[in-house]
């Protein structure tokens, strides 16, 4: 089966994330998860492992799950270890001929469960080389517990633990670049993507990640209407702005070869992205112009480095 994206063919596939889960209206995670699971072939089964996150608490309420595939939730810090264990058990059963068909292993975790708490088990699973995909849906803070900062939160962001006041103006540190850290693990496939346009980018990257043997990593931008403070219907617009301002560049690294997936026709100023969300509101106050300048400088620096690496 080719990786060419054909929406008409995707329509034939059954929905793997059923409606009636408890994610907030307009949540990016629902879009990301159904987009990634759509890349699975119709006949293949999947084992979905979930770190504790918004996604976990809202799609899995005993005795029900919203996934049509097998689902495991263990804890915040060991989702990758759980997934790698299930994969090892599957391989053992397969060797003895006790299991039919193909089963794929997919882990979903938020940025808290990936960038911070689950990082050691993720790093271990990637090093051991299990045939699994780790999908981080990055909403840039601990949204589940009430919008606390994580190491994925960008600089100057207002969260409940990086307040805006006289002592500080939002988060002081820059965002950790996790995709680069995962590339340094020398895994066969790592990519950064977002559900944009007709989902071609997300779909083809998810397909590659699922069907490339070995450990693969996807980092997917997943806006949160509550935490980012924007009207919920604006999700596609926010994602487009993040990609067009190069705040969230789309690229993939296959066997160590960097490739840029999308170059904006016109690179927009970061200001456009910041203005669209309430969490950056204080940056537009008088006297805070330096914040926007510094944010722009940081994005430009990262973008130039990416262009250099991808040879674009």
């Amino acid at each position: 089966m080719s990786t060419v994206y054909d929406l008409k063919r995707e329509v034939e596939k059954p929905e793997r994330l059923t409606g009636g889960h408890r994610l907030c209206a307009g949540c990016g995670a629902g879009v990301v998860v159904s987009g990634v699971l759509r890349a699975l072939e119709k006949e293949d089964r999947a084992v979905i492992v979930n770190a504790t996150s918004c996604l976990e608490v809202s799609t899995f309420m005993y005795p029900y799950t919203a996934y049509t595939d097998s689902f495991i939730h263990s804890a915040f810090e060991n989702s990758a270890a759980t997934c790698s264990g299930a994969e090892a058990a599957y391989n053992a059963l397969k060797r003895r001929g006790k299991i039919d068909g193909t089963v794929k292993f997919i882990t979903f975790a938020g940025d808290g469960g990936t960038y911070d708490i689950g990082f050691q088990s993720l790093s271990g699973a990637m090093e051991r080389g299990h045939d699994m995909v780790y999908v981080c849906y990055d909403n840039e803070a601990y949204m589940n517990t009430g919008i606390q900062r994580s190491s994925s939160t960008p600089r100057f962001t207002r969260t409940t633990t990086t307040a805006v006041g006289s002592a500080q103006q939002g988060k002081k540190q820059n965002k950790k670049d996790l995709t680069e850290i995962l590339v340094a693990h020398n895994i066969p496939y790592a990519a950064q993507t977002a559900p944009m346009g007709n989902f071609r980018d997300l779909h083809s990257k998810a397909y590659k990640a699922i069907y490339t043997p070995g450990p693969c990593f996807l980092n997917v931008l997943s806006p949160c209407p509550r935490g980012w403070d924007y009207p919920m219907a604006k999700l596609p617009e926010i994602i487009k702005l993040a990609v067009d301002t190069c705040v969230w560049p789309l690229y993939e690294v296959e066997e160590g070869v960097w490739r840029l997936s999308y170059t904006p026709k016109k690179k927009l100023p970061v200001e456009d992205f910041l203005r669209s969300q309430g969490r950056f509101k204080h940056m537009f106050k008088q006297g805070n112009e330096w914040m926007i300048e510094e944010a722009q400088q940081y994005v430009d620096q990262k973008w130039d480095k990416l262009l250099e690496r991808t040879g674009a």
Partner: protein, 87 residues
């Protein structure tokens, strides 16, 4: 979907159902309605729907679970989806 029992277990196990979180349609403030005359069946509403409540074959919305986020109405290239305030 009927509740599945094809994997009987003596341990407490969760099974997949539609509407695992209950009647989430009651969260809705605005109800999306598809204007079938304007619709070109591009299915952009379906790929973006975070709740998977749009039926791909006859483009019916399942109002039991639709939370009324309005992403479908924003994304529709023909503006065929109207958001109507719930009574």
């Amino acid at each position: 979907m009927e509740q599945r029992n094809d994997f009987p277990s003596k341990y407490p196990v969760s099974y997949p159902v539609i509407g695992a979180g209950g009647d989430t349609g009651s969260w809705r403030m605005f109800r999306p309605e598809i204007d079938k005359d304007k619709c070109i069946k591009c299915l952009f509403c379906w790929i973006y729907c975070p709740d998977g409540v749009i039926d791909r074959d006859n483009l019916q919305i399942n109002y039991d679970f639709c939370k009324g986020c309005g992403i479908c109405a924003k994304e529709c290239p023909r503006n065929a989806i109207n958001m109507i305030r719930e009574e």
